[in-house]
Symmetry: C3
Subunit: 282 residues, 3 copies
């Protein structure tokens, strides 16, 4: 499989599906150590998402051990969910150590437009140049505009992902980071090309921390293929989305979907991945 991996997003959807599978296989083989500095709500589901994909999560956030621990990680995930000022220094330090160690790190600017404090923190983290920023439409628009969202519903987006595509492109150009906007369709852009992922189910919005968890999965995928962050991000979003689709076939509601999603991610096989992954150019 690995030999077939390509350096750029292919035009051929079948090859894109193959690429997504190859990325998952790489995660399973390498079992990358992913350090997560994340909110209290998401820790459980995020760690289980990474484990079920084959990665090795470490929820470690103390400034006292980041200089020594972070260089051992293959990737870092930083999430602003239940932010307080005392967590910010650890987040920034981990970002800096990851940069120095040439390890990718991914930012999840949860509810970035929810308050001035939160927006400022997310913009400061963005200035440390994550490899990838993943948010919903509202979050990406807040980062782009640099202003608090008066319509904010907290962590739930009031904008669709397609509303935010142009903002995402501009934000990617300005920040130098890959920007991914999650929604009914996910858009991933480096400021120039835009890749779309059509996998996933609406009920994911009824599972807390499903967005946080897919950001962690992106961290693992980018960690095993740091030279191709757009492609690895698209692969992670597609694999997570496919797992939710398979899970949805068995689910009776959001809680059983969560269970089946994790089980499906763990058990996903090549034939199913190739048949279901839907990645395309914008």
């Amino acid at each position: 499989m690995e030999e077939e991996k390509t350096n750029t997003i292919k035009e051929n959807p079948i090859e894109l599906a193959q690429q997504a599978w190859t990325h998952l296989e790489l995660v399973r083989k390498k079992s990358p150590l992913i350090q997560c500095i994340t909110n209290f709500v998401s820790m459980d589901l995020m760690a289980n998402t990474l484990l079920s994909a084959g990665a090795s999560p470490a929820m470690i956030h103390s400034v006292d051990e980041i200089p020594e621990f972070t260089p051992k990680a293959l990737g870092v995930c930083i999430n602003a969910g239940t932010l307080t000022p005392d967590w910010l220094p650890g987040m920034k330090l981990a970002a800096q150590v990851a940069n120095q160690s040439k390890k990718p790190w991914v930012l999840d600017p949860v509810a970035a437009g929810g308050s001035s404090f939160r927006l400022k923190a997310c913009l400061e983290l963005l200035a440390l140049r994550p490899s990838v920023v993943r948010g919903n439409g509202s979050e990406i628009l807040a980062l782009f505009k640099g202003s608090v969202d008066s319509n904010s519903k907290g962590v739930d987006s009031v904008y669709g992902s397609s509303d935010a595509v142009e903002a995402a492109k501009s934000l990617a150009q300005q920040s130098g980071s890959i920007v991914a906007v999650s929604g009914a369709v996910d858009f991933i852009t480096d400021g120039d090309k835009v890749v779309c992922v059509h996998n996933g189910v609406p009920m994911l919005q009824k599972i807390t921390a499903s967005g946080c968890s897919v950001t962690a999965l992106i961290s693992a995928f980018v960690a095993v293929d740091p030279s191709h962050p757009v492609e690895a991000t698209a692969s992670a979003l597609a694999i997570f989305g496919v797992s939710s689709e398979i899970g949805m076939d068995m689910a009776r509601g959001p809680a059983s979907l969560r269970t089946h999603l994790i089980d499906s991610l763990y058990g996903l096989d090549e034939a199913t991945a190739l048949a279901r992954v839907r990645i395309s150019r914008f």
Copy 2:
């Protein structure tokens, strides 16, 4: 449905069941933003409970954003679970901002009688006059007596809910808050009238944070009908209890009950709600 909503607890159980369903419909329609300042154990289940009911949870606790964020919320839930002194200012500030914004807030005095520190904190929060206080028998008795419970088993009640009814009435009169005592039967009182909810299953006691989560659900129900906190509280307890009963039909133990409970809350339909809700006057 909404037109049939009434201003007071009806004598007719069928109308009370209708009222509970109407409250759930209102939550699903309005999707109220509910800010939760809660303990680390409960964050996941609480957020998922709110999402499955149709509300929009935001786990935000920093004093740095409460003045700006809390006014956007339609209701606030404050829970003393894993309390430390550094969390108290945020809890108090959120209560005050909610009061100023004329938004209801609900207090869950977890293990109030467990220690002097915890009791003092809960009494200080109670003095900020929540719309509703929801606890088990031991917690309500501790607040009423204002003394530490030497029999305390931490978060698990050693008193039944019926032992605490008179204490709940007095506490409601003194505090000006609605007081809800959870147990085999739930009692809700404004200090004068007492309403009973007969829904629920004993195995809920084997699911951590099920009590915390029903308090959050009360916050959402009261948020969409702030003029009738007794009725909205009874409706939330009944709807959560009905969901647990439906879940129990499929459960093999506490973990699958948790899954089925959330699924059932998400999928609850009018006919089932009307057939199962059991609310009555004391």
Copy 3:
């Protein structure tokens, strides 16, 4: 049952299985209050594990209430998972109060070899002489060597449990604590005798906090039989392992295994326990 309980590990595997069942029955009867000071990732699963076994968990970590609360607990579980310096004083104080109150406490030195900060903290806690230390091979080796593990994968062990048996014996002799090493086979030693538990399934490694949760279960088992910490520890590991085996028969992946594990622990009956528990001498 209780009359048949023995003071030492029996040579006869059937009697050891009987002993494990007796320990579980004691937990169900006494419902011991177990105070847990643990990491953010594990709180939910740990509390649910204790509840499903019949114990009464209390996640309380503030120094402001430990002097008053900890003496009420029958056992204490201290876990270094998401450690920061501000949590250490509470952990140490709880250990000291438990010691003064003659209550057993159990240490889980999560990722002890992950950094100097973490190793130092774990060694300081170990110096307060827990009744039992439970870790994976890498963690026990790090404590024994007193050095940071350059191969560390965070919380996931790179050493098998059998690699660490001799280290565990030496560590037990030096520390005065019972040492338990989890793995494909679990080893429990007081520095002299070594007991093996052969229950469990490999997929437990794909469930975050399953190790933390079994440590909490050990706390509950030792709390109801503090005079026989080796035996109670082996019983807890076996009962948890058996529950995972039963769960595995129904599981489709790590998330459903987690659900079935908790359900199975809750519903475990004597015949199944006696048929499945596999404890032996080394």
